[in-house]
Subunit: 401 residues, 2 copies
Amino acid sequence: MSRMLFISTDCHAGLLPGQYREYLDPQFREAYDADVAVQREIAKENRKVMLVEEINAKWRQGIEQELTGAWDHAQRIKVLDGDGIAAEVIFPDGITEENAPPFGAGLSVGPLGGEYETQWAGARAHNRWIAELSQMAPARHLGVAVVPATWDVDEAVREVRWARQNGLGSIMIPVMWGPHAPYHHPKYDPLWAICQELDVVIHFHSGPGAAEEYFGPMPRQPGHQDMVGGMGIYVCEAVWAVVRPLTFLIWGGVFERYPTLKVVVTEATTTWVANYLEHLDDRYVDWHVTAKLGDYKSHLSMKPSDYFHRNIRLGTFFRRKEVERRHEVGHECMMWGSDYPHPEGTWPYTRDMMVDTFRGVPEAEIATMLGGSAAAFYNLDTDRLAPLVAQIGPDTSLFNS
Amino acid sequence: MSRMLFISTDCHAGLLPGQYREYLDPQFREAYDADVAVQREIAKENRKVMLVEEINAKWRQGIEQELTGAWDHAQRIKVLDGDGIAAEVIFPDGITEENAPPFGAGLSVGPLGGEYETQWAGARAHNRWIAELSQMAPARHLGVAVVPATWDVDEAVREVRWARQNGLGSIMIPVMWGPHAPYHHPKYDPLWAICQELDVVIHFHSGPGAAEEYFGPMPRQPGHQDMVGGMGIYVCEAVWAVVRPLTFLIWGGVFERYPTLKVVVTEATTTWVANYLEHLDDRYVDWHVTAKLGDYKSHLSMKPSDYFHRNIRLGTFFRRKEVERRHEVGHECMMWGSDYPHPEGTWPYTRDMMVDTFRGVPEAEIATMLGGSAAAFYNLDTDRLAPLVAQIGPDTSLFNS
C-alpha cells in the first residue's frame, strides 16, 4: 500500500437558514430575520429555473445524512474520510440553494449581489463561523474568508488581518466588480500587499454571471418577454466571468509588483487555459496588429503566461480530457477538487470518478494534481497530515488498474 | 498564369471631417458642425494614448496619396488593383482616427458610443455615402450599412430595406448593447427575419471594448489615478467583446429560427474558434456539471458548433499560425481581408504577407480562404468579376515558391 495525499481545493460549507444570527453583529440581526424570508423566496424561484427541484431531490435520495456535513463537523469528517480527502479548501454556500451567508455574501458576493453594509456584515458572520469550523481540525480545513473588497479596500485589509489571526489563510473576493473599479486599479494595492505579506491565497470562485443580460431585469416588469437561451449563455459565460479578473491582474502588473501573490480560479474548468495564455502572449509579443497603440507592455518584465504559471492555480475537479491535456496547461497549476456537497462535483462517486479521470497517468503527475500542487501553494504542513494520509489516502494502485 | 479570385472581407472607407454634412438630414447639420470639433479633440487625445502619433506618422510616410483612397474612388480602385483585390467589404472609419461617420456611428456604434437620434442620423449619412461609393463599381464594392439596432428594431428593419434597395447587402450592428437588450431578446426577431429574407449579411467588427473599465471613467475626474495595463487588457478583451454576441445568438436559438441567416465576425483573429466551440459544445452535451440546471438546450436541434459552421464566417486577415490551424476552425469559415487603409492590415505589403501566410497550403484551400468562401457567403456574381480577376488577381504560382 502506498497512499497519496489527496486535497480537495473546492468544497463548500454553510449554516442552515437563520443560524447565522448569532454570528452577526447585533445591529444586523433584525434585518437578517427579514433576509432569511427573502432568501427563501429567492431559493423557491431558483428551484424553478436554476436548481431544478426534481433533479436535486433525486440526487439527494439516500445521501440526506451525508449532506448535513455542509454544517455539521462530525458528519463532514466522515465524508472527507470516506472520500480519502486529507485537507479541503472550504468556500461558502453549503448546499447551493440554502446555507449561503447572510445578505448575498456568498459565491455571488459583490456589488451586483447586495448592499455595502449588509454584505460586509454577512461576510463577517460567515467568516466567524468558518473560522470556528476550521479550528475543529485546523490541519484539514482551510476555510475561505469572504471579502467584499470592491467597496472598501481598507476594510478588506483589516479583514485579511483578522482572517490570518483567526487561522484562515484564504480569502475570496468578488468575481464581478459591477460599477466599482476593476482589479488593475491602484486602489487595490494595499490588499495585494497584505495578502502577499501574510501569505493569504486569493480566490475567484465561478458562479456569478451577467444574470440580467441572460434572463432579463429582475424583478420581472409588466410586458416582460422571456429570453430563450439565457441558461445556455450563462453556463458558457460563467467560465469567462471568472477568468476575466486574471486579465486585469496580469496586465495591471499586479504580479510584477507583488511577485509572490497567490491567486486561484476555482471551478472554472481548465480547457480554456492554453488558448487564453496564447492570446495574452500574442498581444505581449506586440505583433503587427497592435503596433499602432504604442508601448503597453514595458511595465511587465515577463510575458503573461509566465505570471500565470508562477502566481495562479486552477482549483477544480477534472474531466478526463482536461487531464489528457495537462501539459498544455502546465499540470503543476491544476489542483483537484470534489466540490462536496454540490451535485456537480465528484461526491458521492469520488473514487470512481477519480480513477476514470486519472487512469494511466504517471504516478508523480497524479500526485501533483491530487495533492502536491495544493500542498505547496497553500503552504500546508504535510508532516502533520501524514498519519491521516496513511489511514485514509487513496492507494496509488487504484490508477494502474 | 492562373489567377485567383481575391476578396478582402475587411476594408474601410470614410469621408474627411466635415464632408458628411451634405449627407445628413438638414436638422442635424448644425449639431454636426459642433461634433466635428468634438471629434477632432477626441482624435487629438487618442493620438496620445491609442493611436500613437509618431508611429502612425512614420507608417504613413510615402503612402499619403494611396491613403486618400479612404474617400477617393479613383485612388481606391488603384490600390485595390495593386493589391489584386477583385471585391471588398467596406466598413466605416477610413483612417482610424479620422473619417468616421458623424456622432460616433462608426465601428463603436451603439449605446456606449453616442445618443439615439444623432447616432441614427450619423449612420444614415454614412449609409447614403457608402451606397453612392459602392455604386461606382457595384461588383467590387460591398458597402456595409451601419445599423444601430439596439435602440429601435423597427427603424433597423426599415434601414435594412433601404440598404438592400440602394445596393447594399451588408450591415453592421453594435458589438456591445450596453443597457439595451442582448441579441437573444425576441425583440430582434424582425431584424433577423428581414436580413434572412433579403439575404443581408450581419457583421460584428472588432474595436469596441469596456473602455471605462480599462482606462477609467471619461472625462477624467479630479483625483483620477491612472490604471496601468488598460491597453493590454483592451487588446485582449476586444476579441472577446466581438465573439460575445455569437454566444447570445447561438444559445438564443436565432439560427434555429432563421436557418439561413448570415453573420460575420470581422478582424477578431481565429485562434479562439476551436476552443470556443469546444466550450459551447461541452455545455450542450449536458455534462455532469450542468445537470442540476435542467433542460436548457431542447430548443436547439443541433449543437452550437453546427450553427457556427453553417451560419457564421470569420472576416479577417491571417497570421501564418491561423492558416496552419485552419482545420481546427473549418477553413471554409475563414475569409481573408487586407484591412486597407488601416495600419494593422496587410496593405501596403499585401503580396508579401499573403505569400508568407499561405505558402505551401493546398491551392484549393487557399482559393477558398482568399475568395471562394466570401464569394459564396456574400453571394457574389463571380462571372461578372472574372474579367477583372484575369487582369489583377494574384497568380497561384506565388504560393508554390
